[in-house]
Symmetry: C2
Subunit: 868 residues, 2 copies
């Protein structure tokens, strides 16, 4: 966030140039683009004005946030509904095939296994070919993007298409995969594309800060329209993707997610699937006595066990990925036949779930949705002491097995699904892990609930009324707890309420979710953070629960003291040395090596550009040419005077190209990728560009060269230099030893920073900032490095790397001085520290002794009192 101000500068420069240019003209309010057009093109003006006014009206409407959010919600609801429809069709097709072939078990098996294998393989292949970025959940990437990191190709139309089609196929196969994570990604891509589309109508959508806000809202929409859970969606997306959340963006998420969830459910009503808008997995638990107080320990047990289970899931998932990567023979084989791994995994999983085979012990024939519906069922499955034999109706049939009881089936289901889900989510197709985990949690909750029901057939309550135990409630609690543990979120509780349409179990759910989170967070990172680590995305680990030493580690303990810097009065040789000796992407620019006052930071690429432009063949030729000119004598003096003039005029009247630009991008998106820009001396320098053109890199930019003879700039220097350029051909050779000598000469010159891009206010910390505060600032502002200063003097640097090390504790063991707890109290009477004051005194002394050229007081009226 902070490091990007430099991008604004370009915009500002151009704008300022345009303004200055127009102020020279006689237009009274010269800043409306429409008027600009009127001014320049007289003929079809009325027609154009009308069009433009219409367009402006459109812009003023389209520019509103709510239009964007409604469009986003609508599109995502349609996508979600269509995808659900397609998935349901796919799953029905499999069921139909399986049902139609019930005469031959082998054929049945073939159909049962081939169908998902083909779908998954297609999904993997399609994604691989079209956009490999679409693989996986997408939440880790979104987390990184929302932190301010630019991940290319993650928000393109190609990825969108790949993700939508790949996800539909993957879920249509019936594998234990989820759609939540991918939906967050799909919604974000949708927002990015929509924003790009709407930017055709206006420039608002070009704003980076706004785009980030919209992406945050889009994440909420993704979850919201996936589960028809607007509140849970917003909260889940906040917890999963943000470190610091701007409350002012809150309404955006709620608005879009509510609209999206509404449309999503209305589509179901219109399609006559439902009679009215209700929850996705509606439950019908007792309202008057949802649970007994004495059942709470059982819920707490579910929570704690889910915490361990969640941590185990994350661990297992990571280990599988690492195992696949580490085994070189496997790896090499798989790299060659990329589609083999998905096919193999699908084969294994679908074989095991084959209903007439092992699948009968784990309700293999049920789809994920059916499984959830049955698990949240209101009835008790286990035989109860005195009561009637329970009748399994409809899809509940799947859980009954004549050869085993329901407990065995549930246990087998949980164990098998656990590793299956962990394995299946490593397949390179677009897929999430939330839903599989949710189902496993529900099954675990159901198991506990059934056990409780068998243990207390008449309920625990001792009063007159008999309130039986509701195993379905336990399933709800288990689902929320396990999914909360895996994702490290509390908002799964809210999602569960919205999914089931009942909030009666709020306290058990909250208790279980919090306990599960406490256990899981202390054991493992969240699934998304784990993926971030595996993928080595730029991230900042969270500060853990109650790590007090974080308050006591200071920046000075972790900062890099030995940093390379660029001084304002350095030579090109020094730049060369710095480039050779460090790999930092941003170099600090200090006043001088002695004062070390930090003036700004300069990008490494800029330094390289400065150096290469100094040593460029064009410049060499220019020197040669000037040498020839100086032999002519009178010409040189003439041009140097002209040069002076042109510098002055150019700062007043910038070049025409800079003026025309502001109109175009209304219809065309300009890619904003500063590292790709041509080094030093781009196209829009507004005056400075001209100046540097005269001084140094004359021929680097062919467009600018072509612009030279254009009559648009009435500067007196143009014709002369164009003449000079034409009279002496460019191909003017120099011998290699001469070149070396010339280069050595050039390296000894002082650096001219005027053409370099400098971040004038890099982020600064002081030595005594605590690690906790540093972490806060880094995550708040999305920094990746900060300079440590002491009264303006640069003393060190902290980058994400150091911070990450310090938080992960690898440094704590080695060198970080962890201050004792009691040392962290504060005392108000203290003044500056010794180090600071010494530094200040040095500075002050230097001023005293060296007598700076002008020693002016703050009033400015005694400027010339002490100039001796």
């Amino acid at each position: 966030m902070y490091g990007r101000y430099t991008q604004d500068l370009g915009t500002f420069a151009k704008d300022e140039a345009a303004r200055l240019r127009l102020q020279e003209g006689d237009t009274p309010r010269p800043r409306r683009p429409s008027e600009l057009l009127e001014y320049t093109q007289g003929r079809c003006a009325p027609c154009r004005v009308c069009t433009l006014q219409c367009q402006r009206f459109l812009i003023s409407k389209v520019g509103e946030d709510w239009v964007f959010l409604i469009l986003l919600g609508l599109v995502m609801a349609l996508v979600s509904w269509a995808m659900d429809f397609a998935i349901a069709t796919c799953l029905q097709a499999q069921k139909w095939m399986y049902g139609g072939l019930d005469t031959n078990v082998l054929l049945q098996y073939m159909a049962w296994v081939t169908y998902p294998t083909v779908l998954i393989t297609f999904s993997a292949g399609f994604t691989q070919i079209l956009a490999p970025q679409a693989v996986g959940s997408g939440i880790p990437e979104m987390k990184t993007i929302l932190r301010g990191v630019v991940l290319k190709e993650y928000l393109t139309l190609k990825t969108f298409v790949a993700k939508v089609i790949g996800l539909t196929c993957a879920l249509g196969s019936g594998m234990p995969l989820g759609k939540e994570g991918p939906f967050v990604h799909i919604a974000s891509m949708c927002a990015a594309l929509l924003s790009r589309f709407l930017s055709l109508f206006g420039g608002f959508y070009e704003n980076e800060a706004r785009n980030i806000e919209m992406l945050a809202a889009a994440c909420a929409v993704g979850v919201g329209c996936c589960f028809a859970a607007p509140i849970g969606g917003v909260l889940f997306s906040i917890e999963v993707t943000s470190t610091f959340f701007a409350v002012r963006n809150y309404w955006r998420g709620f608005f879009a997610a509510t609209f999206s969830a509404f449309i999503f459910r209305v589509l179901a009503v219109w399609n006559k699937d439902e009679e009215t808008i209700t929850a996705l997995f509606k439950t019908r638990f007792r309202l008057d006595f949802p649970f007994d107080l004495q059942e709470l320990p059982a819920f707490a047990v579910i929570g704690i066990a889910s915490g361990f289970g969640g941590a185990l899931f994350v661990y297992l998932n990571r280990k599988i990925v690492q195992f696949m990567r580490r085994q070189k023979t496997i790896n090499r084989f798989l790299m060659k036949k990329r589609l083999l791994f998905p096919a193999l995994v699908t084969l294994i999983i679908s074989t095991l779930t084959f209903p007439p085979g092992f699948g009968q012990f784990m309700a293999g024939q049920l789809t994920q949705k059916d499984t959830l519906v049955t698990l949240f069922d209101n009835q008790t499955w286990a035989k109860q002491g005195i009561s009637d034999e329970f009748e399994y109706l409809g899809i509940l049939e799947a859980w009954r097995n004549p050869r085993s009881n329901v407990f065995v089936t549930l246990v087998v289901f949980i164990l098998m699904k656990f590793w299956m889900s962990a394995l299946a989510t490593t397949i390179p197709v677009p897929c999430g892990a939330f839903m599989p985990v949710f189902v496993i949690g529900a099954a675990f909750g159901r198991l506990v609930g059934e056990s409780m029901a068998a243990w207390f057939p008449d309920g625990i309550h001792t009063d007159s009324n008999i309130y039986r135990i509701v195993p379905g409630g336990y399933a709800v609690v288990g689902a929320a707890a396990l999914s909360g543990a895996v994702t490290h979120t509390v908002s799964t509780a809210v999602i569960v309420f919205e999914l089931t349409g009942q909030i009666s179990h709020i306290l058990p759910v909250m208790i279980a979710v919090i306990l599960a989170n406490a256990v899981a967070q202390s054991l493992q990172p969240s699934l998304y953070d784990s993926i971030i680590r595996i993928k080595k995305l730029p991230y900042l680990p969270e500060l853990g629960w109650g790590h007090h030493e974080k308050y006591n580690v200071r920046v000075e303990d972790i900062m890099v003291r030995d940093i390379h810097y660029v001084t304002l009065n350095c030579k090109y040789r020094d730049l060369q040395q710095v480039l050779h000796s460090t790999k930092m992407k941003n170099l600090p620019l200090v006043e001088s090596a002695e004062s070390m006052i930090l003036l700004g930071s300069i990008e490494r690429t800029q330094v390289g550009a400065l150096l290469s432009s100094q040593l460029s063949p064009q410049r060499r030729l220019m020197t040669l040419r000037q040498k020839v000119l100086s032999e002519d004598g009178h010409r040189l003096s003439d041009s140097s005077i002209r040069f002076q003039i042109s510098t002055e005029t150019s700062s007043g009247t910038p070049a025409r190209p800079a003026l025309r630009k502001p109109l175009k991008p209304a219809l065309k998106r300009v890619p904003s990728s500063p590292p790709d820009s041509p080094p030093a001396g781009g196209t829009d320098h507004t005056g400075i560009a001209l100046k540097s053109l005269f001084c140094a890199n004359a021929a680097t930019e062919p467009t600018e060269v072509r612009a030279w003879p254009s009559p648009s700039l009435p500067s007196p220097a143009w014709p002369l230099l164009a003449l000079v350029g034409s009279s002496y051909p460019l191909a003017c050779p120099m011998a290699p030893p001469q070149i070396l000598e010339w280069e050595e000469q050039q390296l000894d010159q002082l650096v001219d920073f005027s053409s370099a891009k400098i971040d004038p206010a890099p982020f600064q910390l002081v030595e005594h900032t605590s690690l906790h505060k540093t972490h806060t600032i880094f995550s708040l502002l999305g920094l990746d490095h900060a300079f440590v200063t002491s009264i303006g003097r640069l003393v060190g640097m902290v980058s994400l790397k150091e911070l990450r090390k310090a938080i992960e504790g690898s440094l704590t063991g080695k060198g970080v001085k962890v201050r004792p707890p009691l040392a962290s109290f504060r005392d108000s009477t203290a003044s500056t520290t010794e180090a600071d004051t010494t530094a200040l005194r040095q500075l002050w002394d230097r001023h005293q002794h060296h007598h700076m050229p002008r020693e002016a007081g703050p009033g400015g009226d005694d400027d010339d009192d002490t100039p001796k």
Copy 2:
């Protein structure tokens, strides 16, 4: 946040001093305070070690966040429950009195009116005497405190007691007042007190960042245990108090609020009020068909109307306060008789609600809780075309009036309660406005619902089943919408679900709440922001919905350019001038008036202290004494040499007083209030203090003077100076003209900043930072001013005031250059702007021409190449 680093410096200084001192000794790990004690006190060491180890164990446990949060939740649940119990008793007493006197209407009236008047008057008087800070809701103050502003006396035990007792009395009176806002405040005070209590066991609780985190959690607890709504509580408190929310604090809020809500409800079960844990205002709406799709327009109407109503409520509330303040005669009268206003208001309101009087048309006999229960009732009140006459049972009786129908009663109720609530919340007692507004919203919703039920007696649904309209559902929607509109929050939706225990109406509630928010936010600030403005608390207005121009206003448009500054080489006379000419609390310190390189910021008080210490009588005497000494000739030269020595040694071995301090505060809280500290030359300067002792303010600190003859410091200068001090008495007069002359001399000296407290890294912005970004940074970091720099040079300053003006648009009309939308696109190829480069060039040129004493390259190996 950023401006407070200086506070840390003192701590650091002392710690560093202790460490240095101990490293000189021979203790191998010198940093544990227990070991320090062992080291110093040999006799009862084993006993002490044991005690300390126990204490350390306690600290390690007590220091955990969850212990604190559990304690907080427990205490708050008990407070909430006890208060509810007391309030219920109070209300029952009123009912009993009213019921017992039903023979005489006049006596009944007297009882009905006197009881609340006495309670309110007592509450107002008690609060006024004990702690006036307890008046009102407390949410605005908490919002300000969480932004980082220190509001004294708002988190003390006195305020806690005043608020709890005042609130109980106020609510016990039956006035339309709420407990939510005050509970947020009470919970925060509870957290602050608990944290202070627990700091007896350990130093963790001294950390400011941590305290803020805990306060944020406490706000959630406040709402959570007030409504037994953990999730809604967390969200509401976030929305109401935070601008940016750290997701890592999320779990704290959830954990504490859940625990608190749990205990709160468990207490009800143990007290046999309830059979098990359920919602506070349980509803029993249909689950299978909660509402028809075609009812949604009605819900939307409720939302929009509530939006207008909410804005009107805020407006009315503010106008009443402003009216009371503006009318001087009223004001003067009320200022004298502070308790008259509350008594008067109570009298009016209770007269109007007197059940046999006008109260019969507005269900006056019902308490707030009963009103809500009846409004959320499942039955339809209005007569339905074909169906039976509805029987009013129990408390529902109150809504029936033989002389009017239920619609009239509801309308009268809404209108009367509306102004009554707006008036009652201005009474100077601890009270909130959430609950009254909630009730009015519910009544409005009920009105719409009853109308719909009368309009469509058999429901709207056209299919075979008849689903009648549920007016109770409308009441729920209305309650959420109106309270959401008044507070500008979306989370009232969640609170409603948790309060009623049903989530079936999620979509209507969300739609209504969002629409209400959209309308209300575009018309008025939230109730809490309105109070913040009335009370003139330091705040930062929110950026509104979709104000795009915020992206296009730059810092340079709003910054103050003409700022006063202090230069490093200025004279005391300049300081005096600056102090006279500006009222800024923080003055920038620049290198020189020419370079304008920002080195840090210095507090106004510090500048004053510097000036006064320079002109202090002590220093004058010292000069006089030295003059006398110089007459002795040989003595002066001696002491100046000694002075040199003592300066060097003191920086190595700091004074003993600085060493002893770190042990004490483990058992005693040190107040952290830097502005109250003795100016310039406090007690703990570690070396520098000694130096300044020698130079300047010798006798300002009597403790230090007494420390002089102590044998702890073996510096050779001590006996000498002590001798000097004793041989020449302090009372040595100087004539007034001499004094003036001396002062003039002193003012012409250069300032010695070594004893001043300087913030070495004040926050810096660049000129082109957008207003949007500036707002984000200010609210993220809780800044109140930032300096605007351009490549290290100070060019301006932005404070909260300018930012506020710019956001509120008062500047937009006058002078802010709002850039056209199309100008805000960005182009990656641009380089630095003209202004920046020119500045850089100036700096660079200065280096070229003036030849700074040492021009070292970054490598540092060619230091002495160009020293000519």
